[in-house]
Every structure is written in C-alpha cells, then in structure tokens.
C-alpha cells in the first residue's frame, strides 16, 4: 500500500463522506464523479448518517490476507438513516447477539496493518447503539 493511495481516501473513510448529485439529489457511497442515476457530473461531498440498522450480516471465517488475525469477524450490510447502504465490520458485540434490524453506529477503528513496518490503516466499523 503506497502512502498516497491511503492518504487520498482518508477524508472519506474517517468522516464517512460520499457524494450527492446536485441535479437529481441521489446520494452515493463511496464517492463518485458521475451520477449513475442521471449521468450528471455535478456531484458534491455528502456527509453520511452515522447511524443505521443491520439489513443482513455474516461471519467471515476464512479471511483474506492481512485480516487473518481478526478472524472470525462479523460484517454487516447496514442501511443508514438517510437510506444509503454500507458494508462494514460489526464490533463490540458477540456473533450470537447480532440480529437483523439491530441499531448500529459508526466508530473509528484500526482496519489492518501491513506487516511490522508498513502502514497501519484506520477507518470505520459499526457497533451497537446504546440508547
């Protein structure tokens, strides 16, 4: 992983920023340059809701490289309060506690590290909301 490649996504991953089409109003995550609904090129940064509910979920038991030490881990498909969907690891809960419809919120966490001398990557994971 090169430093610029990681750096250029920081704002979007750390602050949950996507895009909103200025023409038709459609919202997207991740960010994009052309609206896939109306083909407009007028998109602006859009701040996602940080809370939502679990639509579907799974447990990853055979992970890809650089995720081995976290396995098994839960990953959810989450519908945010603004209607956008996002895929994210689910943390601070046991697999047996996970239920479809459960309220979750974004939290800032370590994602992976590239060996002992490479970049340590951070970003969003989602955890249960305590009301």
């Amino acid at each position: 992983m090169s430093v610029p490649r990681y750096w250029r996504e920081e704002k979007y991953r750390y602050r949950l920023i996507g895009s909103r089409c200025s023409k038709c109003g459609e919202i997207f995550f991740p960010r994009r340059l052309v609206c896939s609904k109306c083909r407009s090129r007028q998109l602006r940064d859009y701040k996602l809701s940080e809370k939502g509910r679990i639509v579907s979920w799974t447990i990853i038991r055979n992970p890809p490289k650089e995720y081995e030490k976290y396995a098994p881990y839960a990953v959810g498909l989450i519908e945010l309060d603004d209607g956008l969907k996002i895929i994210s690891q689910l943390v601070d809960l046991e697999p047996e506690e996970i239920k479809t419809g459960m309220r979750v919120e974004a939290t800032f966490r370590k994602i992976r590290e590239e060996g002992s001398s490479g970049i340590i990557e951070y970003g969003y994971k989602f955890r249960p909301v305590i009301e």
């Binding site: 996504e9 997207f28 995550f29 991740p30 896939s36 639509v55 579907s56 979920w57 799974t58 447990i59 990853i60 038991r61 055979n62 992970p63 890809p64 490289k65 995720y67 081995e68 976290y70 881990y73 990953v75 959810g76 498909l77 956008l84 969907k85 996002i86 895929i87 994210s88 690891q89 697999p95 479809t100 994602i111 992976r112 970003g123």
Partner: protein, 380 residues
C-alpha cells in the same frame, strides 16, 4: 453477420495439479481441442484468466501461451472479467468470427489456484470488488454472497435446506463426470452440518479451490456433423457496489444479458433443454434460475427441490456438477460450461448425458453479479 459454430473442445480434469504449471494446463486443454476439431491454424487466441498476475506474478499470457503452442504472428491476448472471464472471452471470440474479422479463434480458460495459499485465494477472489470500500472491510466473495443469502431467506421465507439442495443436485450430476473435481453424492444433512464458510453459507455450499483449463475452437458455421451452433451470446453489467443496488436479491446483469441473448437467438425459454449456471455458492445458482427467467422471484429453489433441474427433470441444470461439484477454476469456468453444453448437444456426455438435448444455455457470473455472460448453443 456470419453464423458461428463450436468446432472443437478440450478439457483437463479439475484438480490440484501439483505437477503442472498454468501453461502446462493451457497447452493440454488446447491440444485436446485442436485434436477434437482437426484444425491447427488460428488467427486469434483469447486467454481467459483472473489470478495469474497475483498468484503466479505472470502477465502477457496471450504471447506466452500462443508461443507454448508453437503459434506465431497472431492476435493473442488475455481477457479478464472476474469469474465471468471465460464467458466474456467466448463472447468476444463469437463476435470476431460472426463479424468476419476472424476465421478461426481459440479460446482458452485457465486458472492455477493451488499455487496460492488459502488466504491468497480469498484475496484474489476479493479483487473483483472495490478494493477501497468493499474488500477493504475484510469481506470476502463468499461473505458478499452470504449477505444476499440471509436477506433472501428472510425476504422470501425460503429455508436453508431448500437452498442447500442446489449443492446436493450438483453432486448427483457430477457422479460419473471424468473432469469433475468432486464426482460423488452428498446428502442435504451433510451440507447443513458442514462448517460455516460465511454464515449462513456452509462450506459444502461453496465451490472449492481447483486448477483447470478448458479450450474451445470457434469457426464459421458450415453444417458439419459434430458442429454445435452458437445461437447467441450476450454480456451485461450491474451496479458495481452491492450496497448501491435497490434489491440485492436480483442480479440485474443476469436479467439483461438473458434478455439480449434470447432476443438474438429468437427462441423462447421453453425451447431450452439444459442449463449450466454459475453457482459459486448455492444462493447464486438459485438467483440465476430466477433472473434468467426460469423461475419467479423467491421460487428458484422450488425447481431444485422438486427435481425439475435434475438429470431426468424438465430442465436439467449443471449436468456435470456445476461450480460446486465439477469445480470452479475461476477464469476457466465459463469455458468448461460451454464445453459441457457442446458435449451434451453432441450426445457425447457419457454417464452425464441427458435425453433429447438440442438447445443449451450457459450463464457465467463475475463479482457478486456485477458482470454476466449468457450463451445459447444449439445442435443441428
């Protein structure tokens, strides 16, 4: 446009070929296809492959493999469209011959997966998804299928056992198949008690890791004895991020590729005698039945459970075992599917032969349904 025929096919068994390299496998399948067609000369060679850049650190397969076959001075390159690479390469080859640009095209699908460690295979498969926002979360290809699988069960009230039957039927069909990786039966209980791969998907609902190569030769249709005509091929894409799709249980790329292919072929779904579908895990086979237009939404597994998709049913599906039991050497899978249709339509399918096979359809998926190819073949 010219009519196009499959003039020859060649397969290697799918296995962990520890003693054979990627090029060895490609050459072995090609030589079989050349011998089958009796044709030695090609003006174009397409290589369908997904993992060589990552697993073998090898690129430029077009030149490498054409030279390995002793062929010089031709148009030769690799084609990549995730696990639909085979289907997409076949589509390009058909277009080249149909247009009159090419007179003889060799298409090789090859994948050498056993050169990688299991976590490297998982990473290779996850390369079909957005590295910055999907693979980045640590989700795998089977993990994405699992999100659909769970949502589908809850949405349509379908049971785990109904969906698992897709794998059971595949294994029934693979028995007696010489090129299948897992040519034996398994029970639904065995599937449902196997360890979880990615909940709610069990290990025995997933295609495994295997090496293999398949080759087909395409030529203008002449009406010779063993020729099988390519009635139509079509490809399509869907919204790349699963998260951005309105309904995650519908594979829009499958719907639109099927619509295009049936329109070109000028036939109805009722005229199709057999299917080769892309079941990288059971749920994708079920969704394929629905989105190709053979079952209503939520009813795909009903066809499987009731026996419609069995060898003696009305619509035999995955007649050599599909991805689950025949195997899924990623970039080669689409070419195995085409070769299997040809074997059935020629009446050369041995113990896997179905009766009265005249029209067959193959569907090859890439990513979590973001790319799809459909081919419809007919015997004379």
């Amino acid at each position: 446009m010219r009519r196009v025929a499959v003039a020859g096919i060649g397969l290697t068994p799918i296995s962990e070929h520890w003693d054979k390299s990627l090029v060895d496998l490609a050459v072995e399948s090609s030589c079989r296809a050349i011998d089958d067609s009796g044709s030695l000369n090609f003006d174009t060679l397409y290589v369908a492959n997904v993992g060589s850049a990552f697993i073998q650190r090898q690129q430029n397969l077009g030149s490498m493999i054409s030279d390995a076959l002793g062929i010089k001075g031709i148009n030769s390159l690799s084609i990549e469209a995730s696990s639909a690479s085979g289907g997409f390469a076949f589509n390009e080859a058909v277009r080249a011959v149909a247009s009159g640009v090419s007179d003889s095209v060799l298409v090789i699908g090859v994948e050498k997966m056993s050169d990688a460690l299991p976590e490297e295979v998982a990473s290779t498969l996850a390369m079909s998804e957005d590295q910055e926002y999907i693979a980045y979360t640590g989700i795998t290809n089977f993990g994405l299928n699992a999100l659909i699988h769970r949502f589908y069960m809850e949405c349509y009230g379908v049971t785990a056992s109904d969906i698992a039957m897709f794998a059971v039927r595949c294994h029934e069909h693979a028995e007696g198949c010489n090129h299948a990786q897992y040519p034996f039966k398994i029970s639904v209980d065995r599937v449902l008690t196997s360890p979880m791969e990615s909940d709610p998907i069990h290990a025995l609902e997933c295609s495994g890791i295997g090496d293999g190569a398949a080759a087909v030769i395409l030529k203008p249709f002449e009406g010779k004895d063993r020729e099988v005509e390519v009635l139509a091929t079509a490809t399509s894409t869907d919204i790349f991020h699963l998260t951005q799709r309105r309904d995650i249980t519908t594979l829009n790329a499958v719907c639109s590729a099927a619509e295009k292919a049936f329109r070109t072929a000028g036939i109805s779904r009722k005229e199709v005698d057999l299917l080769e579908l892309h079941d990288d895990s059971t749920i994708m086979g079920v969704l394929s039945l629905e989105d190709l237009g053979f079952a209503e939404k939520g009813k795909g597994s009903t066809l499987v459970v009731s026996g419609v998709t069995s060898r003696t049913g009305e619509l035999p599906t995955n007649t050599f075992g599909g991805l689950k039991a025949r195997g899924n050497p990623i970039g080669a899978t689409g070419i195995y599917q085409i070769s299997e249709l040809v074997m059935q339509l020629r009446g050369e399918a041995g113990k896997c032969q179905i009766e009265n096979a005249r029209v067959g359809l193959a569907e090859n998926l890439g990513g979590v349904g973001s790319s799809c190819s459909v081919a419809i073949l007919r015997r004379l």
